[in-house]
Symmetry: C2
Subunit: 208 residues, 2 copies
């Protein structure tokens, strides 16, 4: 099917949001960006992808200050970022890349506050995928082959990190339905069923 | 279509949640409860429906205290409620009525923290309907024939009242996606389109 929308997927760790986003992009025949943004940022900046991987979607305290005193201009690329922590450099680069991509194509993007970065784009559809904690722990166990206690720790830590990251860069509260167009609890849905629901929603919007 | 679920609709004022709930109940061929709960409560207690209407979905500070010190037993009916404020009497009665209804039938219920009241019911589907503030103001203007400034006041006041009511009785934060199975921003949807999305979701659950 055709799609004239950019879709942002915000997802709880272990909710299957990545898989849903990927399957959605395939269904809509548009590009998919998640970790792909790290490779692009690494290529543009010359920083190793492994360094960025470690820093991805983690907030620091320095960027907000730096931005607030006008030290940085998004358009200037990596060279102007001086001694900013790598997390912040990556955030700024991903922010710039997402904006540039949005000017030339429609796509599905997972995480990275993309809903906030693109908030003024009239073609934006903002989806939030979440799930009950037990099913998220189970998914973490299955995916990472770790025991349930460690998986629970990983889930809770990721919740905290993502909430901090989102609130820090967007100034909005993570997990509030109002931030999104559609919020789906994926606990009782397969990836395909969740995709089907999102596609029905986009289909309605496409017809307007 | 048949439906083996009880559906709670939590809605922002002006989001069209009432109409969506009503149309959903019709589609699923199950009863619909919103203000209807007031009539039942009035009938059971002998209190005038007008008195309850004024007190509906407003929180007070006394109930939590009364409950915490064990003064009230939900099973005892209205006569045991002594000097409790009318809001709290209505909450207790509606709570009791919703629980009784859930034992004998499936239905759609709007508001009244029904999602919290029925939280242990395995057949529960919890929906949250919200919308952008401008479309909620427009709906309030159209419905109540008031000017936009007064409509905005009404929307903001209702947001505050409902958030207080929900948080007060459920102990949970109003508007967090995690409290629900599906959250739909109704701004760009007709009532029928929103119903269609909810029905697709219920249809998936019904097949499990």
């Amino acid at each position: 099917m055709s799609c004239n929308k950019i879709i942002t997927i915000t997802r709880q760790y272990g909710s299957g949001g990545h898989d849903i986003g990927k399957a959605l992009a395939k269904k809509l025949e548009i590009p998919f960006y998640d970790k792909e943004l790290i490779s692009i940022a690494a290529k543009e900046s010359g920083v190793s992808p492994e360094v960025f991987e470690q820093a991805d979607e983690k907030a620091t305290n320095s960027l907000l200050y730096s931005l607030s005193v006008g030290l940085y201009n998004y358009g200037n690329g990596f060279s102007s970022m001086g001694d900013l922590p790598v997390n912040d450099r990556l955030y700024i680069l991903q922010h710039k890349i997402i904006k540039e991509l949005a000017e030339k194509e429609n796509f599905v993007v997972v995480g990275r506050c993309a809903d906030y970065v693109l908030k003024d784009n009239p073609n934006l559809v903002k989806i939030y995928i979440y799930a009950d904690i037990d099913s998220r722990i189970k998914r973490a166990v299955d995916r990472q082959e770790i025991d349930p206690a460690r998986a629970k720790q990983a889930v809770l830590k990721a919740d905290k990190n993502r909430a901090n990251y989102y609130s820090f860069y967007s100034g909005k509260k993570w997990g509030l339905a109002d931030n999104y167009d559609l919020c789906i609890n994926s606990t009782y849905l397969t990836t395909e069923q969740a995709v089907k629901m999102i596609v029905s929603y986009i289909d309605i919007l496409n017809k307007k």
